[in-house]
Assembly symmetry: C2
Homo-oligomer: 377 residues x 2
C-alpha cells in the first residue's frame, strides 16, 4: 500500500461559485496539470478514433481516457509495458486515466460467473474465458501506467432490485479495499468509485464506506446507464456533497453537453464520454445551437463552418458542404474532422464554463447555453 498522499499529485481548489456547487481547480499529475472541470475524450483501444495526439492538443484536450478491458485483450498489458507504457505507446505525453475494465466486463463481455473473489467472463472478441479480480485490475493498470487508475467496481444494470443493488455496492466496497491494498506504484492516483444507482440511501452507504479509505479522488459510477437525466441530476444532488471537497470528483461516462453543465453546477470536476467522437463519426456535429446532422440535404451548398461561432481548426478551414460531401462519399476524413470539431466544442464549452465559474456566472452560463441549444439537446 503506497503512501496515502503521493507527492506526484495535488488538487488545488481555486474557486467555488457561491450560487451553485460549481468549482474550478487545478489537478497536478505526473504527466501535467489539468484545469478542472475537464473533459477526457475516450481512446478506447489506445487511440482516440481517427485523431492524432497533436490534433487532440489543438482541440484543447489535456487528458485522455483509455479502456483497460480493451487494452487487456489487445495488445495485452505486457506488450504495452514492454513498449514503455501507454503514454509512449500512444504517443500521448499528457495525463491518462484508465478505467478498471469492470464496466466493459459487465456490459460488453459475456459474464460466466461473479463472486466475491473475481468476475469470470468471455471476451467479446473471440470468446476466450478470462478473469478479473481487484488485484488483477490494479496489476493491469500498473502495467499500462496511466496517471489515474480506477478501483474495480461491480456495475449492475440500472433497473436491478434494491437488494441486488445493495449487494453490488457492498462488493464494490470490499473490492475497493483490495484494490487499495494491491496498489504498488506511487505515481498513479487510484480513485474509489461510489455506486448505488439512483438510490439515495445506497449512495450514502457507498460513500460512507469508501471515504475512510482516503482515496486521492472519487468517481461517481453507475450513472448514464439508462436512467433519465432528471434521475441522474437528482442523484448528483445527493451524492456529490458526500465527496471530499479537497479531491477531484469524476462522473464516469457522462455525457451530453447539457449533462456536463448540469453536473459541473453540482460540483463535478472530471468527465469522459464517447459521445463527441462516436457522434462525430456518425455525421453529428455539436454546436452552440444544438447538434447538426451533416448528411442532411440542407447542407449541400452551405458554405458556413459546422459552428459559425467556433474557432477550431476544422471550423476555420472547412464548410458544412464539404463535411457533408465527405460523409456522403464515405471518406474517412469526414469522421476525423467532425470528431475533431466535436472534441474542440466540448473543450471550449468547459473552458468557457470554468471562466464563468471564476466570475460567479455559472448559473447565467447555464441559462445562456440552454437557450442556445433550445429543445435540441
Amino acid at each position: 500500500m503506497p503512501p496515502l498522499s503521493s507527492p506526484a499529485f495535488s488538487y488545488t481548489l481555486q474557486h467555488t461559485d457561491p450560487a451553485t456547487g460549481a468549482r474550478v481547480g487545478r489537478w497536478r499529475t505526473p504527466h501535467g496539470t489539468i484545469e478542472t472541470p475537464a473533459f477526457m475524450p475516450v481512446g478506447t483501444i489506445g487511440s482516440v478514433k481517427g485523431l492524432t495526439p497533436d490534433q487532440l492538443r489543438q482541440a484543447g484536450v489535456e487528458m485522455v481516457l483509455a479502456n483497460t478491458y480493451h487494452l487487456a485483450l489487445r495488445p495485452g498489458p505486457d506488450v504495452v509495458a514492454e513498449l514503455g507504457g501507454l503514454h509512449r505507446f500512444m504517443g500521448w505525453d499528457g495525463p491518462i486515466l484508465t478505467d478498471s475494465g469492470g464496466f466493459q466486463v459487465f456490459s460488453l463481455a459475456k459474464l460466466t460467473r461473479l463472486d466475491d473473489q473475481q468476475v469470470v467472463f468471455r471476451s467479446h472478441i473471440d470468446g476466450t474465458q478470462l478473469e478479473l479480480s481487484p488485484e488483477r485490475a490494479i496489476q493491469i493498470q500498473e502495467q499500462l501506467g496511466a496517471d489515474c487508475v480506477m478501483c474495480l467496481d461491480e456495475c449492475p444494470p440500472h433497473d436491478v432490485p434494491p437488494d441486488r443493488l445493495r449487494e453490488a455496492v457492498d462488493r464494490t466496497t470490499r473490492w475497493a479495499q483490495r484494490c487499495r491494498d494491491a496498489q504498488r506504484r506511487d505515481d498513479q492516483a487510484l480513485f474509489g468509485i461510489v455506486q448505488g444507482g439512483t438510490n439515495r440511501l445506497l449512495r450514502e452507504r457507498s460513500a460512507a464506506a469508501l471515504l475512510p479509505m482516503e482515496f486521492p479522488g472519487y468517481a461517481v459510477g453507475g450513472l448514464s446507464v439508462g436512467e433519465s437525466p432528471e434521475h441522474m441530476y437528482a442523484t448528483l444532488d445527493w451524492t456529490v456533497p458526500l465527496l471530499p471537497g479537497d479531491k477531484p470528483r469524476y462522473l464516469m461516462g457522462v455525457g451530453r453537453p447539457v449533462d456536463l453543465v448540469e453536473a459541473v453546477l453540482r460540483g463535478v470536476d472530471l468527465f469522459d464520454c464517447v459521445l463527441p467522437t462516436r457522434n462525430g463519426r456518425n455525421g453529428m456535429g455539436f454546436t452552440r445551437a444544438g447538434p447538426v446532422r451533416l448528411r442532411n440535404l440542407v447542407y449541400q451548398r452551405d458554405d458556413r463552418p459546422i459552428d459559425p461561432a467556433c474557432d477550431c481548426p476544422v471550423c476555420r478551414q472547412f464548410s458544412r458542404a464539404y463535411l457533408r460531401h465527405l460523409f456522403l462519399v464515405n471518406e474517412m476524413l469526414g469522421p476525423t474532422l467532425l470528431s475533431w470539431h466535436n472534441l474542440a466544442y466540448y473543450q471550449t464549452l468547459l473552458a468557457e464554463l470554468r471562466q464563468a465559474i471564476r466570475e460567479n456566472r455559472a448559473q447565467e452560463f447555464r441559462t445562456v447555453q440552454l437557450a442556445g441549444w433550445g429543445d435540441n439537446l
Copy 2:
C-alpha cells in the same frame, strides 16, 4: 482559346544531370511553385483519404491531384463551383491538378457508346447514363478550378491490337484540339496527353500530332496499365525525348518508388499514384529497405519507427508495434498514420533525388536506392 503562354505559369529548367535525362526545375502556378520532379498524392473525391491539408503539408506535399470523374458524380461540379472551387472546398491552398475523367470512364464506369463526338457511360455509383466530350471535360475542370487540367483522352486497355490503339491515338489527337479550343480560363495550364501504349511508332505519331498545339505541358498516358516495368521504362526511353524540354512532363498514374526513380532518370517531372495512400490503408509501409507489412507478428513488440531513417511526424512519434496494433484492432488512425508516413517517404525520396540531380549524382542515387530496396520492390 486562351493565349498560348499564360503569365500565370512558368517552368524553369534549373539543371539537367549530364549522365541521364534527369532534371530539376521549378514550375510556377497560380497557387504556388512546385519543385520538380514532384509527386502528387491522389485526392480522389476531394480528399487525400484520411489526411488533412496540414498533414499533407507536413509530409512535404506541394501539389495534389483530384479526379474529375469522381467529383463530377459527387458532389457535382456546380456544387464545387458555387462553393468557391476545389481549393476552397478541400481547404488546400496549394496547386491542384485534375485529370479529365477519361481514365475512370474507360476503367471504372460501364461504357455504353464511344464515338468521335463523345463517350457515353453509366456511373459506377448508381448506373445513371452520362456523357463526356472534350468540351464537357474542359467545362467541368473549369468549374472545379484546378491549376493544371488535362485533355480528354481515349484510354484503351494495354493489350488491344495495334489498329485499335492507332484509332485511340488519333481520336486523342482530335479531342486534344477540341479541348484546346474549348478552354476559356487562362489561369489553368491544359496538358496534352501522349498515348500509344508501348508502341514506339504510335508514341511518335501521338507526340508529333500534339506538339504543334503547343500545350504548356505534356503528359504520358496509357502506362502502368498492366504492362511490365521493362516495357514501361522502354516506352519512356522513346517517348520522353519527343517532349519539349522547356515544359513540364507528367507520367500519369505511376507508381512504385523504383518507377519514380527510373522515370525521373528518363526525364519525367511529375507523378501521381494511389500507391502510398492505398497501401498505407492496407498496412503496407514504404521504407528505405523496401516495404514492411505492419500486420506481421514480427512487429508486435518492435519499438522502432516504420522506417528508422525517416524523420516524418509519424516516425518521430509512433512505433511499428503501435501501428501494428492499430491495424489489428481496425482503428482508423492506423490507415491515417501509415498513409501519412508513406506520403512523407515519397516526398523525401523525390527531395533527395532532386538534390542528387543537382549534384550530378542521379545514377549513383539510383544504385544506392535499388541496393536498399533489394528484391523487395
